[in-house]
Symmetry: C2
Subunit: 158 residues, 2 copies
DNA sequence: GTTGAAAGATGAGCTTT
DNA sequence: AAAGCTCATCTTTCAAC
């Protein structure tokens, strides 16, 4: 098995539609792409089996569930080596409030996205959980004032 | 109508499950939360109508669709005022490769998440599209080397 | 691509608290 | 009254042709 997956224009359309509406029925999806339901479903299943479509998720309104603080946090480690990164990761994965963690180039080593009820709760997460990780050197927080775009549709490279 | 929504423990469970699996059937969801299908569905519908659940999305494997470059970009504007922000936003919304745009505190004014096929395509997006926006002052890119956590489940504040 | 059986969704009316 | 349950009907899925 090689890593090359043949994806035609129809598959692209399917992926685009399912990204913007993960709950569309197969019947409506098939209409939109101009195929009958059976082959449409077959394509979707194949995309899921290939791992090209990974999963489906509901998106919630954070304000409405009481999440008032969202931040980006730039994290530098005390020396970047495999052991330190492993240690950091193991701990980060345990912290529910850290919803994203990316290893990046640039002045910081990692970029986190962190959510919390309010500034107090946020401070508590950062002090009690993130700062407590031994290998963490410095932290720089940027509070999100508002989110102006949050597209769930990844554009296809042509 | 006031803004207060009563959400009990069952609703929370529903929201948590639908965030991690947006395509679970109502039958299975009802099992998990310990209700019969009808009231379960009723609750889900109410959460959707309240806007607490905003939407459903398929998540794709970016590598497999040929998206090789993901970055965070810190953007500073030439003076931060309503007009400049409006101008910036209108243009940013048109750029498909910019999948997120957040207004933040800190040294930069905005944080973008940008995706592209490769470094060349990325450079092209940044030079031809983002840099071209009149009000943009400075840009600072951080390339994502790897994503170590990307949770779609927002933890409920208690 | 079409058809049909099985699974799931969903509304009406009944029961419980 | 508010929430949940059961049943009957309609829709969707999905495998066989």
């Amino acid at each position: 098995m090689n890593g090359i997956l043949k994806i035609d224009q129809t598959d692209r359309k399917i992926i685009e539609i399912l990204q913007s509406n993960g709950k569309i029925t197969n019947a409506k999806l098939s209409e939109k792409i101009g195929l009958s339901p059976a082959p449409t479903l077959e394509r979707v299943k194949k995309l899921e089996q290939n791992g090209l479509i990974e999963s489906y998720h509901a998106q919630v309104d954070m304000d409405k569930i009481g999440v008032g603080v969202k931040t980006f946090v730039k994290v530098s480690l005390k020396g970047i080596n495999k052991t330190n990164i492993e240690t950091f990761l193991d701990k980060i994965k345990e912290i529910d409030e850290v919803i994203e963690c990316h290893h990046t180039t640039g002045s910081g080593d990692f970029m986190l996205k962190v959510v919390a009820k309010d500034i107090n709760a946020y401070q508590k997460v950062m002090l009690d959980k993130v700062s407590e990780i031994e290998v963490v050197d410095s932290l720089q927080s940027m509070v999100i004032l508002s989110t102006l775009k949050n597209s769930k549709v990844i554009p296809f490279p042509h």
